[in-house]
């Protein structure tokens, strides 16, 4: 080869390289930004060779779930995963949707006996403007412990007042409460006025009332009045919105917060246990057109036909609580879910706790031991909670497009002997260690 030919070759090569570069750059501009792609690879996971219990669809005996950007991207016997997806081999394991607890005080309490660590109960009877979400402590030791048996998502709620405040639906993972938020407000927490129960009831001195019945009536009237005020307030606000000549009114935070309630947009999570409390709650909901969810609901089975007819869901639990009355059937709470199921009432379980929220699957399992079909038990901690709180497009089953809140287990998640091996919340793998596992590991090998 002479110099001239070599020179021409180099020139041609350089020109070809420049053309190639321009073409590549042009194509690149049509494709997503390569930097973003690299980040996405970190957000792509594929769980392979697993039994997939989708809950809403058929169970896939051996298949894969592809997770991308926090969502379930593909589910099936075969899925096409990008080569840079992180693979979790789940041979012999099962994938379930993360469990949802319909009632906790997670993040709002730490040590039961220490008032300083509790943020569940604000002063005053009417606190609809109190928002649970802003008091959620994301780094509570109770949160990782609560994940231990498969709960990924929970309602956390204030309590103890006639209107206690706004409950939030949170994911049990996140650096901040904003990151944990799934939906807020998820419901307005109320408590149907009731006679005090249990120990200390005999010593209760209802202020200014000579007996509990009187106190209850007074509280009921106050609640009705407050709802009527909220209706009037909402009406006045709407009037002003369409007619600017009307004088502006000062903001009333309590009534403002009740507007979505009296408009039937925000569900009311009403604690009502005794039969007449439940009936009373239904009456109030009828009168003020509230979207009602009954919580606690010990006697719901006695009101089952009305609940079904009016399509009112109930949150029950703990079903392991003692029967309320001495002459109740010994298994009255264990078999409650089975009765509701038979009657066609929509229901879901709650732990009604924080430190013991990890026992949620046992609420469902114990109910199954006393007559509830097993698949219904699972639904009542997955898809039914999602339906009741209006997030069934987002959570509660393994379906493409839903938030990737998943658990990978070595068996039935309602069983004691089952362990959760992997957990995803919002598409991210979650650390399954907790204060408990750390102390266990530290001391089991103490010399």
């Amino acid at each position: 080869m002479n110099r001239n030919r070599t020179f021409r070759f180099v020139v041609k090569a350089v020109i070809a390289a420049i053309i190639a570069f321009i073409v590549i750059m042009a194509i690149k501009n049509l494709l997503p930004n390569p930097v973003v792609s690299a980040q996405q690879a970190a957000n792509v996971f594929v769980i392979r060779n697993a039994k997939i219990v989708t809950v809403t669809g058929a169970t896939i005996e051996r298949g894969s779930v592809l997770i991308r950007d926090g969502k379930i991207a593909e589910v099936g016997a075969r899925v096409t995963a990008p080569s840079n997806a992180k693979v979790i081999d789940a041979t012999g394991l099962s994938v379930y949707p993360g469990l949802i607890d319909c009632g906790t005080s997670l993040g709002l309490t730490e040590i039961g006996s220490i008032q300083e660590t509790r943020d569940t109960t604000e002063l005053g009877d009417f606190n609809p403007h109190m928002r649970a979400i802003v008091a959620v402590q994301p780094h509570s030791e109770l949160i990782p412990v609560s994940r231990a048996n498969g709960t990924t998502t929970a309602i956390t709620r204030p309590g103890g007042r006639l209107v206690s405040g706004q409950a939030a639906l949170i994911n049990l993972d996140g650096w901040t409460w904003q990151e944990m938020t799934v939906k807020t407000p998820a419901a307005m927490e109320m408590e149907y006025p009731r006679a005090q129960r249990g120990r200390g009831a005999a010593f209760a001195q209802p202020e200014g009332a000579t007996n509990v019945a009187q106190l209850r009536e007074r509280q009921l009237n106050a609640l009705r009045q407050k709802l009527e005020d909220a209706q009037a307030y909402a009406k006045a606000k709407e009037a002003r919105a369409t007619d600017k000549s009307l004088p502006p009114r000062p903001v009333d935070h309590v009534l403002e917060a009740l507007i979505p309630v009296v408009k039937g947009e925000l569900p009311v999570l009403m604690i009502a246990n005794a039969e007449r409390e439940i009936k009373g709650a239904i009456d109030i909901a009828d009168k003020y057109k509230l979207k009602l969810i009954i919580s606690g609901a010990a006697d719901a089975w006695k009101v089952a036909s009305t609940l079904k007819e009016k399509n009112i869901p109930v949150i029950i639990g703990p079903v392991t609580d003692l029967p309320n009355n001495e002459d109740d059937d010994y298994d009255i709470n264990y078999s409650h879910a089975a009765k509701l199921h038979k009657a066609g009432v929509k229901f879901a379980f709650q732990s009604d706790d924080a430190a013991y929220a990890r026992n949620l699957p046992y609420q469902a399992g114990t109910s199954a031991a006393f007559g509830l079909p097993k698949d219904e038990a699972l639904k009542a901690v997955t898809i039914y909670p999602a339906q009741i709180f209006g997030v069934d497009k987002l959570l509660g089953s393994i379906e493409v497009g839903k938030m990737a809140n998943l658990i990978v287990t070595d068996g039935d998640p309602l069983e004691f002997k089952t362990s959760v091996k992997h957990m995803f919340i919002n598409g991210k793998p979650v650390d399954l260690s907790s204060r408990h596992t750390k102390l266990y590991d530290k001391f089991k090998d103490r010399p």
């Binding site: 010994y330 199954a368 362990s419």
Partner: protein
Amino acid sequence: MKRYSTILLTALVAALASVALAQNKGEVLIKNATIMTASHGVIEGGSILVRDGKIAAVGKNSEVRAGANARVIDATGMYVTPGIIDAHSHSALDSVNEGSVSVSAMVRMKDVVDNTDISIYRQLAGGTTTIHSMHGSANSIGGQNVILKLKWGKSAEEMIVPDMPRTIKFALGENPKRAGNQSNPFGQGNRPLRFPATRMGVEFTIREAFQQAREYMREWDEYAAAKERGGDLAPPRRDLKLEAIADILRGKLLVHSHCYRADEILMLMNVADEFGWKVLAFQHVLEGYKVAKEMAAHGAGGSTFSDWWAYKIEAYDAIPGNAAIMHHKGVVTSVNSDSADLARRLYQEAAKTIKYGGLTDEEALRFITLNSAKQLKMDHRIGSIDVGKDGDLAIFNANPFSIYARVEMTLIEGEVYFDRKEDMKRRETIAKEKKELIEKERRTAPQEQRQPTPPITPTVSGPGDDQPGIKQ
């Protein structure tokens, strides 16, 4: 209202008792069962013969022969375990705490047994047959406990285990300190403060009591010696409190101590060593896993919760692996209820130790049977399915450590005290009877006093001593 409840309860007790009393002693044969013996593994296709209240034979179906008149229970597809023993209960008691004094060793729970507590029946329905019903934890040295068989329908005297080992309750940490502090979450009202207010004071209270008991014993010894020599002395004043403490020193009264933190566990063993007695079992003992080695060396058992924690600061380091670690380090470990609620599902509580501590079914079963029996010095009589032991048995529809298991039948000394089928059958009759009683009450109540049907008094079931989850 009181009258109404009483009538109802009496009817219920009578109805249930009639079933229990209809049983005869003689022979009972349970056959075709999966037998979880708690002492020598599992027998598939097995039979148990109970004769006159005692286990007469256990083995494969072919190895066990019963007489022609034996009552036969076909347990095909079912699991049989020893009757469950709750090493920490406050059920079937009229009162729990004599907390007005720092040392109440003189009071006895056997004097306040309530045989009509509905908790007895509910716990039978969970396979529980024996409970250690204890004094509360309000004071450093509490009262003497009672061991009961849950013979629903029988008198209090018949429920108390004859010749039961005597145990006494001690308490360390937050609970005995409460009465010494005004600002506690349980509220003392305007009551005067009671010593002690700190863990230092708790240790001193116990040490002082043993010091006084030693002196008391010496007084009596001197009196006995003088009498021996023919002296004509007045006897020392009898002190029932110090008599009980002296019995601890004599090894006749065994100590079960409520505790949480590792430091106080070590403290009590230290005091015990100093005065020459042993702690038979630590109760709750939520930080037992931190000092399991020391407990094992002392010979103390540990009776703990499966998963309670975070209800107070001394329970913040509690872990559900506690039972497993204590067990692996050689501590005789049990899982208890301390609650009228959990006592109905101790098999579920034990199942949690399998999950959190990687134990076997048999180890978990011992936590609620044989080991509890050892902690009560009753393992020669109850706690496993072995020939010669009491015919106390629970029959489950599935492996008891499955969440889908429930108890079908419970026997004490060969008598059926709970039968789920019978229970279900009775419900209609009881509902009808209840309705009739209410109607009668309405008809017979004087006109001017007639009021709307009162709600049934909510049960204060099992005066809980140390319930978790203080709710607002």
